[in-house]
């Protein structure tokens, strides 16, 4: 289901609109929390105001718990989320430099914006400094590049790096947060400097924290290896479909369809681009097997009035693609059994096994001859007798439903 825009569930053009709205909420909350004051921000390092820790940690665990549960329920697909890439030395050095920046400047980029816009002059100077810093970084980038792009370790998850399960890490994180809140509250209460600053409201309610805590405890009882997304086919149903062979169409049906120019089948060639260019079935579309789950494929793929027939040189690749689609819930996806190999065997191979003494056999032979001609010439010859052979009796014509 989510994330919505990367999976094109809502229009990508709305992305900037959402950015604006989200930014407004972000800026509003930051300012409301007091992050528009550098003195309040710096307090976390000197023990007189821990607002940074409280807001930051609470926000982090709220979002992390939320994402954990969304993932568990199959409402968000982590494959489509931005997971920070780890360039380890760049990250560490950058973090250290930012640490200096925080102590000297008293801001971080986001907070400096909210401060600047309400009139804090020191924030304006901070922002000016940021521009200068980024300009310097950019101009001298060739010097920074080896550090910036070096030691790439992928996009690991913290629980994997630490060798623990996600739910236990979440629980552990929340415990740490709660302890930090308790400790810092004690420090704050005893701090003289805190009383100089504008006060926050008395902390009557910490209900959201309890809510998060309970969620985290619940999480411990869940099987987090469960990865099922909304709309996916049930596993046993998929197995049933795998076992029955309803998805297979054979050469005769395909040839019949092609020769009679019935446009109700969409042929999808799952081989590589080169193989496709060498030869493909008339009006076939090329979707290399492993691109079948790409977003772009999802959009271009489904035509509502057609059944989809996957084919490959043999059967294997087409069946594999069928599996991916069937698991996602696609219906009306068929597979050419035997693939092009069998098609060519039947049409161009030795048809001597057909008994032409019987009427059925005669029809069959002429049928394949027509198929041959059609495939080679792209159409039947003009003066060809277009009286068609009656369709194979077991050709099903089920109603078409939606696609992927």
């Amino acid at each position: 289901m989510g994330p919505l825009i990367p999976q094109n569930i809502i229009n990508g053009d709305l992305n900037f609109f959402f950015a604006l709205i989200i930014g407004i909420a972000f800026g509003f909350i930051l300012e409301q929390a007091g992050f528009s004051s550098s003195r309040k921000l710096a307090g976390v390092f000197y023990g007189y105001d821990f607002v940074v820790l409280k807001v930051f940690f609470t926000a982090g665990i709220t979002a992390a718990t939320g994402l954990f549960f969304l993932k568990y329920m199959g409402w968000v697909n982590f494959n489509f989320l931005y997971i920070n890439p780890l360039y380890i030395w760049s990250a560490l050095v950058g973090g250290v430099i930012m640490g200096f920046g925080f102590i000297l400047g008293g801001f971080c980029p986001g907070t400096s914006l909210t401060a600047a816009v309400i009139g804090k002059i020191d924030a304006w100077f901070f922002i000016f400094g940021m521009f200068a810093g980024i300009i310097l970084f950019g101009i001298f980038y060739p010097l920074f590049q080896p550090l910036h792009m070096g030691n790439f370790l992928g996009n690991p998850f913290i629980y994997d790096t630490l060798g623990m399960s996600q739910k236990w890490f979440l629980f552990f994180l929340i415990m740490m947060a709660v302890m930090a809140f308790a400790v810092t509250q004690i420090i704050e209460d005893n701090s003289k400097r805190f009383k100089e600053l504008l006060y926050t409201q008395k902390l009557k309610t910490t209900y959201p924290l309890f809510f998060i805590l309970i969620l985290a405890l619940t999480a411990l009882f869940l099987d987090e290896n469960r990865i099922s997304y909304l709309g996916e086919t049930d596993r046993s149903k998929l197995m049933t479909q795998l076992i029955n062979k309803n998805r297979y169409l054979d050469t005769e049906k395909i040839c019949y369809n092609i020769v009679n120019e019935q446009k109700d089948l969409l042929f999808v060639d799952v081989r590589t681009e080169n193989e496709f260019n060498d030869f493909h079935l008339p009006n076939a579309v090329n979707i290399p097997a492993y691109t079948v789950l790409n977003n772009s494929t999802h959009n271009n793929f489904v035509e509502k009035n057609k059944k989809t027939v996957l084919y490959s040189s043999g059967t294997t690749k087409a069946d594999m693609v069928w599996f991916f689609l069937a698991r996602e819930g696609a219906e009306n996806v068929f597979v050419l059994e035997g693939g092009l190999n069998k098609l060519f065997d039947d049409v161009f191979g030795n048809n001597n096994f057909i008994d032409t003494t019987k009427m059925d056999g005669l029809y069959e032979k002429r049928f394949f001859e027509r198929a041959r001609t059609y495939l080679k010439e792209g159409k039947l010859k003009k003066d060809e007798d277009v009286k068609t052979v009656p369709p194979p009796s077991d050709f099903d014509v089920k109603a078409v439903k939606g696609g992927c």
Partner: protein, 183 residues
């Protein structure tokens, strides 16, 4: 909220353990195919730290099967004992069936269910048997049913059929979907 979670749990007790995308990655990396060369080497090893599973029905299995292979008709794949056999066993598990696509599909179903360390043998049983057991046949080392048996292009006289109605689809395989993020 609790009701939502509960109904979800009830409805999907036997859920997948690996996302469709991750299964695709494994299949794409080709690490799930065991080519005959590697298989022959494996068979020649002293230590039998792998398990061979024959997915065909018991009749075919009784007639002839690869030495040391266990029988598990593929229709019974999701039965509790069978699935837990695959999951609990940490050794390399090699499966084969009477058609290559069946082996591949069973492999995918197992991966989706959270089974690790599994490979399938390409080709069908007869081909495997004749080119691995009966005779070690190097020309079959990289065999697959899904390789072209005809030179399609030449057979069609180099005439390419019409390309109408083909929407332009990107040809490159997208590596893990990258959402732009960061600061």
């Amino acid at each position: 909220m609790g009701a939502l979670i509960f109904s979800n749990i009830n409805h999907r007790i036997k859920a997948y353990k690996k996302s469709n995308y991750d299964v695709l990655f494994e299949m794409q990396s080709n690490s799930t195919v065991m080519d005959y060369a590697a298989f022959i080497n494996l068979l020649a090893q002293e230590e039998k730290n792998y398990k061979l599973i024959d997915l065909r029905n018991s009749m075919l299995y009784d007639t002839l099967h690869l030495e040391g292979a266990l029988n598990m008709p593929f229709e019974m794949l999701l039965e509790k004992e069978n699935l837990s056999f695959f999951k609990k066993n940490k050794d390399l598990k090699i499966i084969y069936a009477d058609t290559e696509s069946k082996s591949a599909l069973v492999c995918m179903m197992l991966l989706s269910s959270g089974v690790e360390n599994i490979k399938y043998l390409p080709g069908n049983f007869d081909i495997i048997y004749n080119n691995v057991v009966v005779k070690d046949n190097p020309s079959f080392y990289t065999y697959s049913d899904d390789k072209a048996k005809w030179d399609y292009k030449r057979q069609m006289g180099g005439n390419n059929t019409e390309k109408e109605n083909s929407p332009s689809i990107p040809q490159q395989i997208e590596i893990k979907p990258t959402v732009k993020g960061g600061c």
